[in-house]
Subunit: 403 residues, 2 copies
């Protein structure tokens, strides 16, 4: 039972502290030579000790067999049905670079690319520098469109965020990124159900891309852009209001900052390393009562397929863990948003290990923090969207339902 309004109706006014520490892509698969996963391989005495004092389980971001993107996986961790509250890629890009989105705004994710003889030869334009990206965005900002304003802002390397602002824009239009080299950039088309507004919007986007193509014609290697994930800001009731939370996010990557902002969190400034993130957490301790701490590199190294490097990332987090524990949050959760096994070099459907530390849990027989140990944990295997109610309950922030 996790309709947000139902849960919201039970909230009390406690001011206890909760920390959700997400190691992105934490879950893995056993290495063929050792039979141990990244987490099982890591020397992580602090995580193991915490698991012994916690109650453990496994969580599905969406459901068995479903591999989630980071957006829906985090929405689930924040208590939202990730399928119902879907957030478009464009929105995450725009919010991630600090743009605000109004109800009329249409956002998209942009890749600079290289086109030769009309066909895409490099979808990332040789991973141009962020500075080069910024110069090109500045150059494109001279484009004029009929009745529509736009902003294009660099993200990182070849990635940028694009927002169109004008009345009657529709997000029911198709991507222009063919997601493969050797093909021409696509024309944006209205999607079924989009009606006249989608037709007008697709035509406007195509006109814009024609102008981009002209302006970038002399550039190399980034002589074109492709766009995807056209989306408007969804109507999401903020978790801060729903559950009467002051929530702070310690996240260094744009996308996670974007999701955090979308659900009402404030961003806590932090240096890029994990010890710096933990110090930022400690520094903001009095200001918030729900903290989301996001560590990115377990996922990055999993995506690289670098088993040993992912193990080292887990050990890096383990070293800084005692500082988080020393803050004595009433509720401390360590988990992943999804699995990123180095063996698969990408996100996977496998549930994420989870430990919940609280004086009000029963405990279990889990003696180390690992996927397989957590499968036998006292919390069982459950849905990520049920984590927030569990955290709120342990923080004694929920009233009883019914007499």
């Amino acid at each position: 039972m996790n309709e947000v309004t139902f849960l919201s109706s039970l909230v009390t006014g406690s001011r206890s502290k909760m920390v959700l520490l997400v190691l992105d892509g934490l879950g893995g698969l056993p290495h063929p030579e050792t039979g141990l996963t990244e987490l099982e391989t890591a020397r992580a005495p602090n995580l193991d000790a915490l698991a012994r004092e916690s109650t453990c389980g496994l969580i599905h971001a969406i459901g068995p067999g479903i591999t989630p993107g980071s957006g829906p996986a985090h929405m689930a961790l924040f208590g939202y049905d990730p399928v119902r509250y879907e957030v478009g890629r464009g929105v995450l890009s725009a919010l991630g670079v600090g743009m605000d989105l109004g109800p009329d705004d249409l956002a998209a994710r942009v890749n600079f690319c290289t086109v030769q003889d009309g066909l895409i030869s490099d979808r990332r334009a040789g991973r141009i520098s962020t500075e080069e990206n910024a110069r090109l965005c500045e150059k494109l900002s001279g484009i004029r469109l009929e009745g529509v304003e736009f902003t294009i802002r660099p993200e990182k390397e070849h990635r940028a965020a694009l927002v169109f602002r004008g009345p009657g824009l529709s997000d029911l239009i198709s991507d222009t990124d063919p997601q493969r080299t050797g093909l021409a950039p696509l024309r944006s088309e209205p999607l079924p159900g989009g009606g006249a507004a989608a037709e007008r919007t697709a035509a406007m986007v195509n006109d814009f891309l024609d102008k981009v193509s002209t302006i970038l014609a002399d550039e190399h290697p980034a002589n074109m852009i492709v766009t995807r994930g056209f989306a408007k800001k969804p109507d999401i009731p903020p978790m801060t209001r729903l559950y009467d939370l002051r929530a702070g996010a310690v996240a260094t990557y744009p996308m996670y900052r974007a999701v955090a902002r979308l659900v009402g969190m404030e961003l806590v400034d932090s240096g890029p390393s994990f010890p710096e993130q933990v110090e930022a957490l400690a520094g903001a301790w009095e200001k918030y009562d729900y903290f989301f701490v996001h560590y990115k590199y377990t996922d990055s190294r999993g995506e690289d397929g670098d088993f040993a490097a992912k193990v080292a990332c887990i050990e890096e987090v383990d070293e800084a863990l005692p500082r988080i524990v020393s803050l004595r949050p009433e509720v401390l959760v360590v988990t992943g948003d999804h699995s990123t096994p180095a063996l698969l070099k990408g996100h996977s459907w496998h549930p994420s290990p989870l430990l919940l530390h609280s004086r009000w849990e029963r405990g279990d027989d889990v003696h180390s923090f690992s996927e397989r140990a957590c499968a036998a944990g006292g919390l069982g295997i459950f849905y990520a969207m049920d984590l927030l109610p569990l955290m709120l309950a342990n923080a004694q922030r929920l009233n009883k339902f019914g007499a």
Copy 2:
């Protein structure tokens, strides 16, 4: 999959016997000194032996993190979605004291209270005796209202049930119980969506309470009443009809008798002790095929925060268990409706341990009946509303779905 009409469509005509034994508030939390829960502390050889011959699991009354009241928790045990089939407190009070409710009737829960200088000084009027309560109810029954009849009937100590009977009454009106001392009794107000009917009903209730105040002015300590949980009888398809059951309830507390009646069970007369309840069960054995046996005191002692007394309650039930087993029901379930850890002195969100004894289950490696052992049981962690289908299946009362 538990839509009642779906389940109902699969029912066969078998006449096997099922017993659901509910130890109210059974689940607990580990005692800080021993690390053992109430159930783990209790010397309960019969429950342990039964668990070894059963298949075990944990059940969520509503969902992870959600603390249920006894009403919704029992609705779930009887196979109903407890959020969809919500039963108002007033209805449980009225049915619990044996009143029948028609579609026009509006029921409320009443507390006699003490008011000093306009403010409530004692929400329970010093827990007046049930006899004093009956005398005051009799005195109030002389009140006359325009176009509306009413009945007020003593429950126990300071508690009473109140039913208004008349056309066009609305249950969308607010409580008059402020739930705290130091405040004046509230005026009932129409709730959003209640319209003119709610306005008229609230005005009638306030007129009634003014008259109560006048009549009780000279009484002490019970010189006023507060009301809450205004509700009409919900439209609940009885489980007896849905699943072709003859169902008998051996429950001594008014509220549980009320829920049982609401879903179509007949009440079995019984003395107040658990051995007497078990004898009542045995005496009614031929008359019914589904038995709900409710033991209250595990919850009461948990609410008191009396760990040792709750342990003793579990041991009391354990002693009488062999007599239930000797009746050889095809399906015997022992569980709780929700947890009531002595450490929390109240209901909690923790799932309830459950054992299901049936010759058609697979069994598991659970060697004692406890929360943590059941977490590793063969039934896993599931929702209480899925228990009834599981009982019906084991009683071989359900057909195959589909070809």
